[in-house]
Symmetry: C3
Subunit: 297 residues, 3 copies
Amino acid sequence: QSSVTVYGRVDLSVAQQADAVKNNEVRNGSGSRLGFRGTEDLGDGLKAVFQIEHRFNADDGTQSKAAFWDGKAIVGLEGGFGRITLGREDNPAYALSQLVADPWGTDTVASNSSIVNGRIGTNRYSNGVNYRFSASGFTFGAQVAEADGNTPASGVAEKRPYSLGGAWTNGPIVLGVGYENPADEDDYWATINGSYNFGVVKVGAFFGTGRNGSDQKARSYLVSATAPIGQGELRASYGELKNTTADVINDRQFSLGYHYALSKRTTIYADVTHEGRDNVPDNLKTTGYDIGIKHNF
Amino acid sequence: QSSVTVYGRVDLSVAQQADAVKNNEVRNGSGSRLGFRGTEDLGDGLKAVFQIEHRFNADDGTQSKAAFWDGKAIVGLEGGFGRITLGREDNPAYALSQLVADPWGTDTVASNSSIVNGRIGTNRYSNGVNYRFSASGFTFGAQVAEADGNTPASGVAEKRPYSLGGAWTNGPIVLGVGYENPADEDDYWATINGSYNFGVVKVGAFFGTGRNGSDQKARSYLVSATAPIGQGELRASYGELKNTTADVINDRQFSLGYHYALSKRTTIYADVTHEGRDNVPDNLKTTGYDIGIKHNF
Amino acid sequence: QSSVTVYGRVDLSVAQQADAVKNNEVRNGSGSRLGFRGTEDLGDGLKAVFQIEHRFNADDGTQSKAAFWDGKAIVGLEGGFGRITLGREDNPAYALSQLVADPWGTDTVASNSSIVNGRIGTNRYSNGVNYRFSASGFTFGAQVAEADGNTPASGVAEKRPYSLGGAWTNGPIVLGVGYENPADEDDYWATINGSYNFGVVKVGAFFGTGRNGSDQKARSYLVSATAPIGQGELRASYGELKNTTADVINDRQFSLGYHYALSKRTTIYADVTHEGRDNVPDNLKTTGYDIGIKHNF
């Protein structure tokens, strides 16, 4: 019986990014990854867990970030009390609310990443103590990390970052909330999201509000719809991120895509997105597209 | 059923390089590697494929190049139409002609690397769209990549690099051709190779011609012979690379080696090579050797 | 039958280091690692062996050192003659004496690393030729490497480093000796260690002597006791490292810890250590502690 599971993903597309110069290119559709994880049964309902996840750019073979195990690096215990881990981990505000609100899960050219994180939040934190509890459709997560190694957008870490997240699923209903407080003294990002699945279509809405490291207020919303069509899923979203202090639309994006499952592990997809933020320079494309393939292993 | 195969190689020798200062050392015989690959059957003859391959220097544990997955990073589909992948991949001119022509496969101190690539070609390109078709002993490959991330020897990428390769095998006969056009506007490298296997000995010949990024013409040839002896293979080659514009021999090399298979996966080898190019500085060794072990897993 | 074994460790604690500013933090308890190793039976008692081991900081997901495969990168043969490998490997003075003498194996905040290596030795060398022989409770190891890539503490590699180590186990008795000669012309580090296992408690002693790259003499000793208590082990040690040329105590450390095995693969632990060296700056904590979890897979 093996004590380690090897898993991963390679995801590449031919694409033109929106809000970018002309760059018809081979593009990383989402974070290609290679991971190792395992669970050890310690008896009495107690388990030891670990997971390390490398992220890479499959287009040129480079690692995605300075940290090789950018995706995850944790060890901990799981039991009736929940799950407590140490290390580099998704923050629960991202995992339970921001990520869930975007039909693209912040992947592909259609990613609503900056709308759901307000250009304030960060997907993961290093040096964290992480807690997660799930029961009866309800999930709660909390994380506190070190200022060290978690530099916020403002460039200076002033305090320990921390995050809270909650999610509730009941039949067709999904609700989520997140509160993320990066290492800068001023910034925070709070979000709420919900969706209702009518069967033929699932509709969702998201709202975020916060303050960046320059003490400017930000607000964002996103509405979305996804519909199963054949073996695939049609996705649509519209949203914007506004810096309300400066009264500037930082991101206004309409996205449409179709993701077709060749199997449970392999998807081909096509997306188109239109960028309509304030002050787009003339040399940037306002429309982006991609045609790609995502393979999980 | 596992969806991923872990494979690799560690290859080290005790060696003195030719055309180098005295450096009796532990040397990387070939590209030590660790790879992950898989094939998923999608039905109707269609398959999803992925492969990522890390290259490292086993002598000191460092990664070989700036890109961790220097060896390969691809995802794609395979079927009756052939195989189409995106990502970082061998160029077909290298894989189907240049590589095949060298009895050492461009490995060890005896490598004929600069003769078969003319100091113009590159083994792999990033950001590529790659096509491969095989049938009845015939293989065809094509690749087009981005100028971005594929800086040619001249240092400035001026256009998309592309490559073509073909190979034909029929009983004792192997023929190959390659055409590689790096990202510099001026350079290209065209090659042809063939071999005939008489059983007791296989003889081969190679010819290459092209132009480098400084618009100077280059020409090379290589003749080789390999003979099965016991559980091993005796290898010999002689060839040269000439810059015909400058009328300078850039490489003239005679190599001899014996590679003994301890098993299908493990080989021990000894090689000697003599370097006779123009203008070798006095402080460089003209003769190189290695004694090594190559283990595939 | 698989030809490769995937193994590893993730080890993290919540800790305050001794001899450091206040830094209550998530800390790497020992070298978290991911390794790949295999043995191939070649018949007649001969085996091919390989092993590559990556070391990483699980707290933030970064690799530990500049070399990705910092822990190990070797290939070689094993038989009645012993085991000979090429590549990056533990030096036998560390593996057979220094490491063994420390009840913490140079891990956690309680690590006696600088006492057992005298701030002269190094755990591993790159570009090495490594020999190991074991029989009847006796183990002998030798390593010679290249000056290249093995820069000593003095910053300038002047010669090939080499190391010797020996260990002898007989019932309750363990004895070990090590001699390590780094790449600096002046430095060396010689050690001897022994322990006797009374069952209820195992007591050990270590003595080291040598010279650093600045031609200053160093001397160290360590006494230790470990006792099995329940599913765990109580550990205690006291030792010091002295620069006898400068007459300065570089390290004087008392450590106490309890390591409790949740299973054969998972340990939780708590340690406390007190630093009493000469000239500790006022802003540094003299007492360190950790509470951690170590999971092997």
